[in-house]
Symmetry: C2
Subunit: 703 residues, 2 copies
């Protein structure tokens, strides 16, 4: 990294306010960050985009527990500026090379009354800014406990926001699109039931938060590199339209315990007048540390099927028996229990899935409900809920391992922790070793229900440390992790690319729990996906869930074409074909797209984007000249006009277009699609119609 002092520091001394302002611009000059100290010694910042204010003057600092606050009395000791421009290669991703280009300013502050030092490091990219607090090693600050982080994000107006309720335990909410001023009145309605949830304010919302101003500026607030800290939420002062940082507390109501030297995560604000720039940004990854794993050859993107949707829909069960009032592992006798006849993870069913995966070229098969304990797995604050190594009597680990191997398919492990986190940590080594011994290289972990240690929150520092611990230990075993109900990602997969997925949002499962909004998937890439890939588990072809389970009347609010498009628009190195083989077998022509689509990419082109309305993305499959295009459409029928000018001008291609049929309707006629093949070149322009909750998918194969 070259360190240059090439930026003009505007040192403006205004007599009446005693403000000292320093400015830092993005490489292209469009984004300008200004940092100031007022007469009380409180630092603040402002953000401008193309000369317009995006964030008004917003305070920085902390109140501390049992110690003087770190929110006033500061002077600027020094500031250093530098620029950074580097291109790095992710292990997997939306593109094979990522440019990390920013200007940086390190503002060194000293609190005069205490002698304590606090630095603010700011990085300005073309698509936004990141800043964090740094506490260097120093004589006057060792341990400290944050009572509140006082970082503000002062909005310039009553923007439109795509938000979910602030919560210490879950992000599994539908997005609400509203004015900021409407959040308070819409809060109650937006809080839908979850097995673990704790909201904190009627104007509290989660990050990443996507907004749009009336003059067409897109703003996204999130955080990057959340390590050893608690999750950032935002609480809106809706009189002044100022978001205040709201950290997730621990069981005693306290916020992060800090020891200098330490840094906070980065607070990020993306800004653009083109929504596509938000999707294309790699700022969140760039603010994370480079990969620390020496060997990453064992990390591979995975397309998989599994024994899962049948349990989610209620067609079959995770549990093996209905005999038990409660289960005590090691005491409860499974050998003599009566099988309930609905258990999903049987040898027979798993072999069918392995056969299906092998037939259609999938990499892996996930099996949930393979291990004892599911008869009594949540709702009782149970400590010893699973041991992660003992299979049900009708699931033969060795037999399945051998069968999968014979078919060239990898088995994917499932570790539901039921949020009994001490228990999981106690079993983690044995569980990971069991995986290695039985040929499993990837695990889907789950954190359903309230956390044990009791009273802890899914998003408190205690739990952030746990998720990180599980990822790092998995890396020791060369295991890939896909953590569900864990904290939403903040780009940590750059540093630990074995974190190949997360749920941490309202996934496809909710389509079997009453349904999600038809435009849900036009919001997620602007929010949840900012920090990393989501194991959204797309690919549902049978939208009428009662066809799987007569007692479940849920409806999947999506067309089949929309489901196909998700493999492109919802970027993930881990993609499931979530529906049952039986349902795919009815639509093998559409299923072909899922078989063809890649899960790792050389390049991504963001063709169209408007949060809540539509997203169209083209991606070039890694190491090939084949492209895949996906369009998801929101709340109203729309014509998508795209040019294939991203194709190589010297090459010829065959495109297969999977689109909504004219009469497709996500509610009444979701399985109506058309498939057509055509020759295309980089001159081709396409005009395609997508219905509400619909879309299209295109495979473009080099001839």
């Amino acid at each position: 990294m070259k360190r240059q002092s090439i930026y003009i520091l505007l040192l403006t001394l205004l007599t009446c306010f005693e403000v000292i302002a320093q400015q830092l611009s993005s490489p292209d000059g469009d984004v300008v960050l200004e940092i100031s100290i007022n007469s009380n010694g409180t630092p603040s910042y402002q953000l401008f985009f193309k000369d317009k204010a995006v964030i008004k003057s917003s305070k920085l600092g902390f109140t501390l527990k049992e110690s003087e606050n770190l929110d006033n009395g500061f002077i600027i000791l020094d500031s250093e500026t530098s620029t950074f421009d580097e291109t790095w290669k992710p292990v997997w991703g939306e593109e094979s090379e990522i440019r990390n280009h920013y200007n940086e300013m390190l503002v060194k502050l000293k609190q005069e009354s205490t002698g304590r030092l606090m630095n603010i490091r700011l990085r300005v990219f073309d698509e936004g800014v990141g800043f964090r607090y740094e506490f260097p090693e120093q004589p006057n600050l060792g341990h400290f406990i944050i009572e509140d982080e006082k970082t503000q994000f002062a909005m310039t107006g009553d923007h439109t926001a795509f938000w979910i309720p602030g919560d210490y335990d879950t992000q599994e909410y539908d997005y609400t699109e509203s004015r900021l001023s409407e959040i308070r009145e819409l809060m109650d309605k937006s809080i839908t039931e979850n097995l673990s949830q704790k909201s904190f304010s009627s104007t509290g919302v989660q990050t990443s938060l996507m907004m749009k101003t009336d003059d067409g500026i897109y703003i996204n607030i999130h955080e990057a590199a959340l390590i050893d800290y608690s999750v950032l939420h935002l609480e809106l002062d809706d009189e002044n339209m100022v978001f205040n940082a709201w950290l997730t507390p621990d069981v005693q109501g306290t916020k992060p315990y800090m020891i200098a030297p330490a840094n906070t995560p980065w607070r990020t604000v993306m800004v653009s007048d083109d929504a596509r720039d938000i999707l294309a940004s790699r700022m969140t990854y760039n603010l994370n540390d480079p990969c620390v794993l020496e060997d990453t050859s064992w990390i591979k993107p995975v397309k998989y099927v599994g024994v899962w949707w049948e349990m989610i829909t209620g067609k079959s069960s995770w549990a093996y028996t209905n005999d038990f009032k409660a289960v005590k592992l090691g005491v409860t006798e499974y050998g003599t229990a009566t099988p309930n006849g609905t258990h999903g993870a049987t040898n027979k069913r798993v072999k069918e899935l392995i056969d299906f995966a092998a037939l259609h070229g999938f990499d892996g098969v996930l099996v949930e409900g393979w291990n004892v304990g599911w008869e009594d797995w949540f709702g009782h604050s149970k400590d010893y809920v699973f041991d992660f190594v003992t299979p049900y009597p009708d699931f033969n680990v060795d037999e399945i391992q051998a069968y999968a191997k014979s078919k060239g398919v990898e088995m994917i492990m499932h570790h539901e922790t039921s949020s009994s986190v001490r228990n999981y940590e106690r079993h983690l080594d044995a569980a990971y070793q069991f995986m290695k011994d039985h040929g499993y290289n990837a695990v889907k972990s789950g954190y359903v229900g309230d956390i044990l240690p009791r009273g802890e929150n899914h998003y408190s520092q205690w739990m952030i440390n746990h998720y990180q611990y599980a990822i790092e230990k998995a890396a020791d075993y060369e295991i890939m992790v896909n953590a569900h109900e864990a904290v939403r990602p903040t780009g940590i997969a750059r540093t630990y690319p074995n974190l190949i997925g997360n749920e941490s949002a309202r996934g496809t499962e909710y389509q079997a729990f009453g349904g999600s909004k038809p435009n849900h998937v036009t919001v997620l890439p602007f929010t949840r996906l900012i920090g990393g890939p989501m194991d959204y588990t797309p690919g549902i072809f049978e939208m009428d869930i009662s066809k799987l389970n007569p007692n479940n009347n849920s409806h999947v609010n999506s067309t089949i074409a929309n489901q196909l498009a998700l493999y492109v628009t919802m970027y993930s190195p881990l993609q499931m074909a979530a529906d049952l083989p039986e349902n795919y077998n009815k639509f093998l022509d559409a299923f072909q797209f899922i078989k063809d689509v890649a899960v790792d990419w050389d390049k991504s082109v963001y063709l169209e984007a408007e949060p809540g309305s539509y997203i169209t993305i083209a991606r070039k499959a890694k190491g090939t000249n084949n492209w895949f295009v996906g369009n998801v459409n929101g709340k109203q029928t729309r014509e998508s006009n795209i040019s294939l000018d991203f194709l190589d001008k010297d090459k010829k291609y065959t495109a297969t277009i999977y689109a909504d049929a004219k009469d497709a309707n996500y509610k009444t006629n979701p399985q109506a699609y058309t498939i057509r093949k055509m020759k295309v070149t980089n001159k081709t322009k396409l005009s395609l119609n997508s219905v509400e909750g619909g879309g299209y998918a295109i495979s473009i194969m080099e001839e």
Copy 2:
């Protein structure tokens, strides 16, 4: 186990109270337990000793959280009686064979309104009773949460008690001797400072609680087999002199989480008109399950010295440097730190201790402060406080291992957890493996300070499960555990004899923190030692602590003869000679007793005992014909008259008597002792004078 119905059941139907009483007697008939159900269906019990009431009618049952209580509405479905008589051999102990002889009654209760089943199992021994609640597997009771255990112990009068304040985190208190009616007024004074403490009531006391009635009956209340439950405390209703069970809550204020089938620990009441019977009782062990370890050959009693007292007194330090405001393991750079010059655990000092141990025939050397982190180890709710494998720069693990081996001495590991329990569990496998790799077979663990997970208590179910986890995992590694600041023992060492010691009371360290009462050691065998051995760390010869550290004016309230006696009176398979080699070298004649005394026994004879006043015990060293006698004396000078009739009548012995000198005084002249040798036989009678805080020790070697 033979099952016999040999006891007459008195089925007394009293019209007005509808009481159904059933009686069960001890094998010798002196102890009688009566169980009844009143007209509300509330079970209760009474206890008699030699026809006198010891416990008046006392209720049994539970209130539950979010469920109907289990304290009324019961009927007796059935009751079964049986007798049991077996002799078993402990791996280590006060005697090589233990008789387990009791009559048992299993009373099967059903709550009519709910159909729930709860059994009460009662065992009556010659020296007292144990009873527990059992919840069999059943359709109507799975998970349940205890709000309060409603077990009562109704006293027959205002007894004299030896008590320490009820506390969720520590037992490190001096005992107060008072009438029950005086507890309330003496409570504040009895609560002295501790690094972690939480008292709950002005009449709350801990078990084991020793009492004496005005007519000379000794009563001891404790618990046995505390597994997967929280610690039993007692809260006195001092109007009615009824002790109510008070369980230690978890962070959310709730009591144990239960899953049927489950048992509570045993609630024990020992009773006798001879205080020696309390000391001689093995009831607590007998109520625990037999040993579950197949191979116990690696478990060996240990006499040891260590680098410890010099830190406790402040003569040297655990910490290596004074450079750091705070320590972050893995970040803090020890290599370049300035040694503080007071670090105890240096290669040089440890080798001196190894030399001293080898010279005098000790088995082991404990070293505290060998591993990085001690500069910042408590008081900040720190999570990652130690890693248990990284030594300080001046402690070379391999070099010390080789040196100790060359001298035939075992090194004893030290794991201070600082109560950061998640951190300890995360490192436990690696820490134990590190021990095995470096020749350590025993660990002293510590739990100083407030528990992490934050808000948990040392004595809550969460932590009870942790201590048990550490013991069981240690057994997997063939490691012996001596846990300090952990829960006080309840006889679990029968089942897991690798639990060779605990602190869990006010140990010798307090003699360097201001001093303990001179009669403290005449109480501990009646209280703390009821559940298992204590690593009391006796053997202090220099009572003026300022001689070690000019800044510490504490005084050890004991004579040297008293210190010697402790090796006999404070039974433990783990005995430290805690003072510095330099101090022992000044009194090598007295030190000879510590060198000679055994740590494992074939037989123990309780010659004299009165809680708070004196204890005299003779023990036969395992596999020899040598005996050791110890007398500790309490608050006033006393003549101890003993007969050596326990000696083999056909053998001749040489006794060496280490006694208080005439002018000995625990305060002003503690180092005044006499040593005399004499021939003795089983006809010998001795009359020895012990001063306040004094005593004597005798080695009796077969000629």
